[in-house]
């Protein structure tokens, strides 16, 4: 049975892993390759690297660290941030990344999703969606890497998830901004709504604070993977223990190599 994926997310700025609460006040957490290797050895199923400064600054992702990671790490990883055309995606994928994730550039130019899917296959194309509750329902935000530039994309979240799939997205990462950084659990209700319209793999993001939150989101929102950052970086949740516990509760997880 396909295992539920545990995915540490490493926010990258200036070549270092950082974390901020609700996208603000970034703190340096450590070296990219060092942290990536630690998570791979602990049994992470996949890694996501978000270059959170590339997109708001309008520059392409620096691929030198992508290749350093690919040489060292024997699990799949996805790179997000600063991928704005087929050429920048090609550089990232040929440096050894398995997938590219696009967020703001997909909102600016939705045809980019199709261009990437045609060039590399849908399985390489992840669309990241930053969603927040408003009086008009859940809405997509863009430029979320920079609080000064962050603004509404004037798209309804579920409609955008449907559109992204039609255009060729092979996976959706739904980052729920209302729960992100608060550690009170994933936004189950919003993820359930997304699951209902999502035929490609769906990854939950934003809100993990305890092992129980992972179980909840897998069981109740039936997501394919759960992404988290600070709980792993701070070691308040350790992946081997998390996976052993999830396996005990009957969820399919890969934890054979988690020592």
């Amino acid at each position: 049975m396909l295992a539920k994926r545990i995915i540490p997310c490493l926010d990258v700025a200036e070549g270092k892993v950082v974390k901020g609460v609700r996208f603000r006040d970034h703190q340096v957490m450590g070296d990219i390759v060092e942290l990536a290797r630690r998570y791979a050895e602990e049994g992470a199923d996949e890694l996501v690297f978000y270059d959170i400064t590339a997109s708001p600054q309008g520059r392409s992702v620096d691929v030198s660290w992508v290749e350093r990671v690919a040489r060292e790490i024997d699990i799949p990883f996805c790179v997000a941030g600063g991928i704005r055309d087929v050429e920048s995606a090609r550089r990232v994928l040929f440096s050894g990344a398995d997938k590219v994730s696009i967020n703001t550039p997909a909102l600016e130019n939705p045809a980019l999703i199709t261009e990437l899917a045609d060039a590399f296959g849908t399985q390489c194309v992840v669309v990241g969606v930053d969603s927040i509750r408003t009086e008009q329902g859940y809405q997509v935000k863009q430029y979320t890497g920079d609080p000064d530039k962050s603004r509404f994309a004037h798209k309804e979240t579920l409609a955008w998830i449907k559109e992204a799939q039609q255009r060729g997205a092979g996976e959706i990462v739904l980052n729920c901004m209302d729960t992100d950084g608060v550690k009170k659990g994933y936004h189950i209700e919003h993820l359930q709504q997304a699951r209902a319209v999502c035929q490609v793999p769906l990854i939950a993001s934003g809100g993990a604070g305890a092992p129980e939150h992972f179980r909840e989101v897998f069981e109740q929102a039936r997501v394919d993977g759960a992404l988290a950052a600070s709980v792993f970086h701070s070691a308040s949740i350790r992946i081997p223990e998390l996976k052993a516990w999830l396996a005990e509760t009957g969820l399919p997880v890969r934890w054979e190599q988690a020592a």
């Binding site: 049975m1 396909l2 295992a3 994926r5 791979a40 199923d45 996949e46 290749e67 690919a70 040489r71 024997d74 699990i75 799949p76 090609r90 994928l93 040929f94 440096s95 050894g96 398995d98 590399f120 296959g121 849908t122 399985q123 390489c124 092979g170 996976e171 999502c198 035929q199 490609v200 793999p201 769906l202 039936r222 394919d224 993977g225 890969r254 054979e256 190599q257």
Partner: protein, 199 residues
């Protein structure tokens, strides 16, 4: 070039460097090549591939590698799309393939609750007990990313379950293949590549 050298077929697949890096972690420096003579003289050949079947076959034709690959006698390992191209035909783009394994590659049927692409870690069940590539790997998790797969067939070496069993690995004569990505499958993947190097 040493007759024992390992050559990765340069077919434009975006996972080529990942395969190269995985071999380097095992101490093997692979050569990338699209030259039929170099490939024919290699000790071992890996046919990688990420992307669609139609462009994948078109690349092999354009580089005049179709007959070269069909005629190889040394151990060959097809990975992901590289495996699918070893079958007779792929439903993806209605593409005639190399015909080294029997059968057709098909799209996963739509089933409620099963996302397509099949993406993530799934255990394999080895069904050829004497298969040297999969030695020690029954029941281990491997990383899959694909929307097309071959059904269980006469060359099937291992199955994987996604809605129904499909062919996760195949072996016939000197041709081996995996639908999953050993280069991204942690310790289990490294073990498989080591098995391939030691064939």
């Amino acid at each position: 070039m040493s007759k024992h050298a390992l050559v990765i077929v340069e077919n434009g697949g975006s996972n080529i460097n990942s395969v190269r890096f995985a071999l380097a972690r095992l101490g093997v420096e692979a050569t990338l090549s699209d030259d039929p003579d170099t490939i024919a003289r290699a000790g071992r050949v890996i046919l990688p591939g990420v992307g669609a079947a139609g462009p994948g076959m078109a690349t092999l034709q354009q580089k005049e590698l179709v007959e070269c690959i069909r005629g190889l006698k040394q151990p060959v390992l097809g990975v992901c799309l590289g495996m699918q191209l070893l079958f007779e035909h792929s439903e993806e783009g209605d593409t005639p393939c190399l015909g080294l394994f029997p059968g057709q590659v098909r799209h996963f049927p739509e089933r409620p609750g099963l996302s397509v692409p099949h993406m993530g870690w799934n255990p394999i069940r080895v069904c050829q007990p004497d298969n040297p590539l999969l030695r020690g790997l029954d029941g281990r998790y491997f990383y899959f990313v694909h929307s097309y797969a071959a059904p269980v067939n006469a060359a099937c070496a291992a199955t994987c379950d996604y809605g129904e069993p499909f062919c996760a690995s195949a072996w016939k004569d000197n041709f081996f293949a995996t639908q999953f990505h050993p280069e991204k499958s942690a310790a289990a993947g490294a073990r498989l590549l080591e098995n391939f190097i030691q064939l």
